[in-house]
Point group: C2
Chain length 257, copies 2
Amino acid sequence: MPLTPDERPGRTIRSVQIAFNIIETLQERDRIGVTELANELGHSKSTIHSHLRTLEERKILVRDGDGYRLSLRILDMAADVRDQVGNYDVIRDEVEALAAETGEIAQFGLEEHGQVSYLYKATGDRAVVTASQVGTQQPMYSTSLGKTILAYLPPERTEEIVRNTDFEAITPQTITSPEELYDELEEIAERGYGIDDEENIEGLRCVAAPVRNDETILGAVSITGPSSRFTNERIHDELPEYVTRAANVIELNTKFS
Amino acid sequence: MPLTPDERPGRTIRSVQIAFNIIETLQERDRIGVTELANELGHSKSTIHSHLRTLEERKILVRDGDGYRLSLRILDMAADVRDQVGNYDVIRDEVEALAAETGEIAQFGLEEHGQVSYLYKATGDRAVVTASQVGTQQPMYSTSLGKTILAYLPPERTEEIVRNTDFEAITPQTITSPEELYDELEEIAERGYGIDDEENIEGLRCVAAPVRNDETILGAVSITGPSSRFTNERIHDELPEYVTRAANVIELNTKFS
DNA sequence: CAGTTCGTTCCCGGTACCCGAACGAGAAAT
DNA sequence: ATTTCTCGTTCGGGTACCGGGAACGAACTG
């Protein structure tokens, strides 16, 4: 298995690619040894060995029993990430409050690499269970968070993201063309909130509101629930009020970084 | 500045070292650009550029404004780390409970790379503030957690760690020789809990108890407080009871992984 | 519009990276 | 006890490829 078929522009460093292949493999299947990794990744044992040694010296991995796993240093790095994004405490408190008062799932997400990344997730007492997890990514065009963020990003950035998007019909309702998407973005910008009507997961609807600081968008807040509770009526009346209120509180407490 | 003066055994991969130098620099000082990184790390701009491109493609970094920062994917990795260690929920609940009932700092730590890494930290309502943070590391020989873990590790592993330890007098009370340390480890094994009497930070004392599963040690729980509240009397009577009780609860709820 | 400072690209030389193969240490099997 | 796996580790060699320098382009500033 050759690595990458050489992305068009720019160079990328092979050893580093290998290192992160190891890390990612170790992320999903812990406690693996040298030989197994070598087979899995298609490299010689000696190559993998040197890499493991390097990563262990850097305290990214630890030997645990027979095999390696990621080290707790990752937790420290995660804390720094939260600091760097800024306003984590405000966001957490407000998302928790939103989940508590609605009983549903509340989330905060922001754009990274042309996708939505979840920064925080809170589950209310009657919330449905979903697979989404903090730090993971979802497409922009199929989520309320993503579409709402797109609607408020600088136009050139929005275009760049849309241009690099492969539209895929995740559910029957998913938006599958740039034209449809741009229409909806306009709509969102007009009314101030975005909606996902079973476009990402069947049976689930979401409502999201942008969080902005001085014209630049930081991210968005959303609530997610089953279509049975998110009726056509509530989704354009009561629910947008909740999320915009939460978004406003975050905006007001935002400190410049 | 040459990288490492070539560690004695084994080879380590330079590109990966550079990549993690970048990551670590970005961890402490966010939003840095290519040129600044190049100067800081002593590499050419083109080298740094290729690395940044690689790391960005791997979604480890994001462009944010002008400059890079670590991406939210780190948060996802952190979640996986907690899963891999196992029993995170039990540990969190019990450490929180311990902090709540004592009012002090409570922590759970385990051994990695011959040091203590903190997995969880909870602060009670009258707890002193310390710099220690989840995911960071401390020496084994100067902390109650470290010494307690050493006392219950397999003897050969303990020896290996002690052999590779540089003893340093962090405070006037710090243990500075293997002999002293081994004496204390025996004491700990006898009475079942470990103590740090201002050996790591002046003015602070800690008490720790081991968490074991079927003869193998998973880590240790500790409480930390000012010497004024951690009197000679309480530190050998009331306080050990708290931590051993917490440790026992964790042990009982431990699932095999 | 000149001047500065970014980020980016290109090519080239030297090296250190990856591989293959051999070694050593356990454990399991007979 | 001896064999036979399989694991992690070490070692040298050939060459891909990584890092450096310099030139280019773009964005700001004066």
